[in-house]
């Protein structure tokens, strides 16, 4: 992981929309009086949700003023964590898990599909600037490996063909169904159960 590049193209201003303002106030109320600055992380995440998955400098300033803390402190937090994006990643941000279990189950095929459909390199915007992909560490869905995450949804039990199909839909602006792509419900055993046979509800 290299130091996260801060985008050269920055919007002039940032402001929470009305809905997010409400959410921000709710987040603030979770923290005891005087400790409101702890809300910096959820608020940065909220910015990311509102602003097509990335945090512009204007938003950092906005949050610093919102929480009454120095700009540099917000900047420090935003640059520290890998899940905050500091340059545009597109409306559809695809994260492909390539940690060991997924890797064994063929994660590189998904990466190939991304390279074909979206962009040659990771962290690079697609031609229509609406999409980008990145390799990430374990997303915690090893039972359904290999998998990828698009914005907030998990797409599991993939292979190259299925990935290509999903990506096509994404690029067309549709939203494909999340979850397992081999017909499983969550992470239930495939075919017949082989363990815990005597427990009915397992």
């Amino acid at each position: 992981m290299s130091l996260k590049k801060i985008s050269k193209e920055q919007p002039e201003q940032f402001k929470f929309n009305e809905k997010n303002c409400e959410i921000a106030k709710k987040i603030l109320s979770n923290y005891p009086e005087g400790k409101q600055q702890s809300a910096v992380m959820p608020l940065l995440y909220l910015v990311q949700e509102q602003n097509e998955n990335w945090i512009p400098l204007a938003a950092m300033k906005y949050i610093a003023k919102f929480l009454n803390m120095p700009y540099i402190k917000v900047y420090e937090v935003a640059t520290f964590y890998s899940m905050y994006n500091l340059s545009p990643v597109g409306k559809n941000f695809i994260q492909v898990c390539t940690t060991t279990p997924c890797m064994i189950r063929g994660a590189h095929k998904i990466v190939e599909a991304c390279k074909e459909k979206i962009s040659k390199n990771e962290n690079e915007l697609s031609e229509d600037k609406k999409c980008s992909w990145v390799e990430v560490e374990c997303l915690g869905a090893c039972v359904n490996a290999p998998m990828m995450q698009i914005n907030k949804d998990y797409y599991e039990d993939l292979d190259k063909e299925k990935t290509l199909k999903i990506l096509d839909q994404i690029l067309k602006g549709e939203s494909p169904k999340p979850g397992s792509y081999r017909g499983r419900l969550n992470s239930e055993p495939e075919n017949n159960r082989k363990t815990l046979l005597d427990i009915k509800n397992a």
Partner: protein
């Protein structure tokens, strides 16, 4: 008290100390990079590892509290191996550029690697590179050398009170930077250069100037403000190369302001190095004899009452004293004053013009009221102390005017004299705050003393505090921030002539009642020159020299021994680190020579005689003042007015600073920040 063992020696230490401090008490030095007495504990450099019995791993001593019965070992093989390992990691990414690094010779990393460094590197990987960061005109960065001790970040947030430095990224990619590489907006910023244990932050104006072992070091006193910070002047030949702080817990702790540190290049520019005489509006070089003869003739022709003298902001007490003697003995007059404005002065007792609570006393205080003062620019080190007190006690601070960012929060009043009247008459809640607090501090700035109701405010606040028992033998809540390094000394020596605290000499000058005006380092006098013959004696060609008819080149504070009394009334001596340029002479000698030519004999035989005479005079005066009782001043006239704070051009406040290129850059940087509106 805790009993513990350090290297098998029994030691007793107070509770609440860390292992590192306990070891220090036992006389055992522990290497460290991130730990600093005045900053919070970070514990991230790991250099201070020690072995503690029953602990399986080495312990970072700076972050470990000392406890009863601890058996600490600092000289075992185990400890040495641990420290060597840490050093190897620290050096893994540290460049081998000591020969071109300005820190060389006074670098903690260099020194400690002599003890704990390994002679060969086991790393084959490339060292990391970090781009340089812009931190303003004073701090040069070379961030590849940084070992991430975070001392600079902690200094900026805690002591300077400007959270502008931070660490971005993480792991190997961690970088220390200011927010978007803006310059640090603090008057204490350059202290991070001293704090940096490696050569990552070095001094920009001092870059590649000298090596520490080539410099002659002289311990001295700063004159940029009235605080009297203790400094060390490093000289190479004639040139003052740099100025560093000296530890004095009672005054500046171990910091100094940027002006103190970097105005030094003003000592090289605009210097007066030979006497000048004005003929037909043009200055011609002259010899000392010529210049003194002209002055002698002029004085002979003139009525003695028509000669006046004004002393300036950087003049030491010896010179002030001999100047006074010169007027008293050679001219039989006392038409001298040190004030450049009509500020109110009550010198009945010494407490009337000192910072009585003491700089150390600020930390004990529980309430501070700033009356017409901006301590951040008037006395930077004092402001740092107020911030320290604020962090320690979270005390309430109120200011009469809105004076902008003081690095700590404060409550603002309207800035009207009526506010003070209301407080003193008990119509405002602040009067209760003052009465209820145990150790209140009321700070009066120069702006309040020079406004129309200065006298009223001064006297009524004093009597209010007296009435409520806030001025007693243990605590004196009444404080004045003096303007200049020479102010308190001038009052002690009686360099003024006053009825009711007004500045008569200046009034007369403004009405052009004088024929000869002697300006002793006085550059900030505002008056319309008519036919006066002006003698200027000083070190720099500035406003005073411009209007002069004759210029006598004197010495700056680094070029002569001299006493200064700081705003608390502490007498301190500044020592000679360099010598005056060209024909210039030490200030007291010039006046002594002048006196010789007029009355035929020198006022003082040598410097020793002058010094002892000065100290005798001071003792007598101070005794007189302390035996006197402060009289009650009546006939107070109240004016309801808006108090305007004197506009302080911090980086341009005296002749040395005005001649300094570094100060010029700082000033520009500040204006730039203001004009882009990024101030916050």
């Amino acid at each position: 008290m805790l009993k513990l063992k350090v290297n098998n020696q029994d030691v007793e230490v107070e509770e609440g100390l860390t292992v590192l401090q306990a070891c220090e008490k036992a006389g055992v030095e522990i290497p460290r990079f991130c730990y600093h007495e005045k900053l919070s504990i970070a514990g991230n450099c790991r250099m201070c590892l020690v072995e503690i019995e029953k602990s399986p791993k080495p312990v970072a001593s700076c972050a470990m509290p000392a406890t009863e019965g601890m058996n600490i070992k600092t000289n075992t093989k185990f400890v040495e191996k641990a420290r060597k390992g840490v050093m190897e990691f620290l050096l893994a990414n540290h460049p081998l550029d000591c020969p071109v690094c300005d820190q060389g010779g006074e670098c903690d990393l260099q020194d400690q690697s002599m003890f704990y460094g390994v002679d060969k590197s086991r790393y084959k990987e490339n060292k990391r590179f970090v781009p340089e960061k812009y931190m303003g005109p004073l701090i040069k960065t070379q961030m590849t050398r940084c070992i991430h001790c975070t001392r600079c970040i902690r200094f900026a947030t805690e002591i300077a009170g400007v959270s502008e430095l931070g660490a971005i990224g993480r792991g190997e990619n961690m970088q220390i930077t200011t927010y978007l590489e803006k310059s640090m907006e603090s008057e204490l910023s350059a202290n991070v250069v001293d704090l940096c244990p490696v050569g990552a932050l070095t001094s920009k104006p001092y870059v590649f100037e000298a090596r520490p072992w080539e410099l002659k070091k002289t311990e001295s006193i700063d004159v940029m403000d009235a605080v009297g910070s203790n400094i060390r002047i490093d000289t190479y030949g004639w040139e003052v190369k740099r100025i560093l702080p000296r530890i004095n817990e009672d005054i500046n702790e171990e910091w100094i302001s940027d002006k103190t540190r970097y105005a030094r290049d003003g000592l090289l520019n605009q210097r007066l190095d030979t006497p000048f005489v004005k003929y037909n509006n043009k200055f011609d070089k002259a010899s000392w004899r010529e210049a003194i003869n002209i002055i002698k003739e002029r004085i002979k022709e003139t009525d003695k009452d028509k000669i006046c003298g004004f002393t300036g902001d950087l003049v030491n007490m010896e010179t002030l004293y001999i100047f006074k003697e010169f007027f008293n003995k050679c001219l039989n007059s006392n038409n001298i004053d040190f004030r450049n404005s009509h500020s109110y002065l009550n010198s009945e007792i010494r407490e009337n013009y000192l910072f009585n609570s003491g700089i150390n006393g600020i930390e004990e205080s529980d309430f501070i009221f700033l009356v017409g003062s901006n301590p951040r620019f008037e006395a930077t080190m004092l402001n740092a102390r107020i911030r320290k007190a604020y962090l320690k006690n979270k005390l309430k601070i109120v200011s009469l005017n809105n004076v902008g960012d003081l690095t700590y929060p404060y409550e603002c009043l309207n800035g009207k004299t009526e506010d003070i009247k209301n407080i003193l008459e008990g119509k405002n809640s602040i009067s209760k705050d003052i009465i209820n607090s145990k150790k209140p501090i009321i700070i009066l700035g120069q702006s309040i003393l020079s406004c129309n109701s200065g006298k009223y405010i001064f006297e009524t606040i004093k009597s209010f505090l007296k009435k409520n028992g806030k001025i007693n033998s243990e605590w004196n809540a009444f404080n004045i921030i003096s303007e200049n390094a020479s102010t308190v000394g001038s009052i002690d020596l009686g360099i003024f002539q006053t009825v009711d605290g007004s500045n008569n000499t200046l009034s007369k000058l403004e009405n052009n009642k004088f024929e000869i005006v002697f300006l002793l380092g006085q550059d900030s006098l505002n008056f319309k020159k008519k036919n006066e013959f002006i003698i200027y004696q000083g070190s720099h060609g500035d406003k005073g020299a411009e209007i002069a008819d004759i210029i006598l080149p004197g010495a700056a504070y680094t070029e002569q021994n001299g006493f200064f009394t700081n705003l608390e009334g502490k007498l301190q001596k500044a020592f000679k680190a360099s010598y005056p340029p060209g024909e210039a002479k030490e200030d007291w000698k010039i006046i002594n020579d002048l006196a010789e030519s007029i009355i035929g004999k020198k006022l003082f035989k040598d410097k020793e005689e002058l010094d002892s005479s000065l100290l005798n005079y001071l003792n007598l005066e101070n005794e007189k003042k302390s035996s006197r009782k402060d009289s009650v001043v009546d006939n107070l006239v109240f004016n309801n007015e808006q108090i305007k704070l004197n506009n302080i051009d911090y980086y341009y406040s005296n002749v040395i600073a005005r001649s300094s290129k570094t100060m010029f850059n700082c000033r520009n940087e500040k204006f730039k920040l203001k004009s882009t509106g990024t101030e916050g």
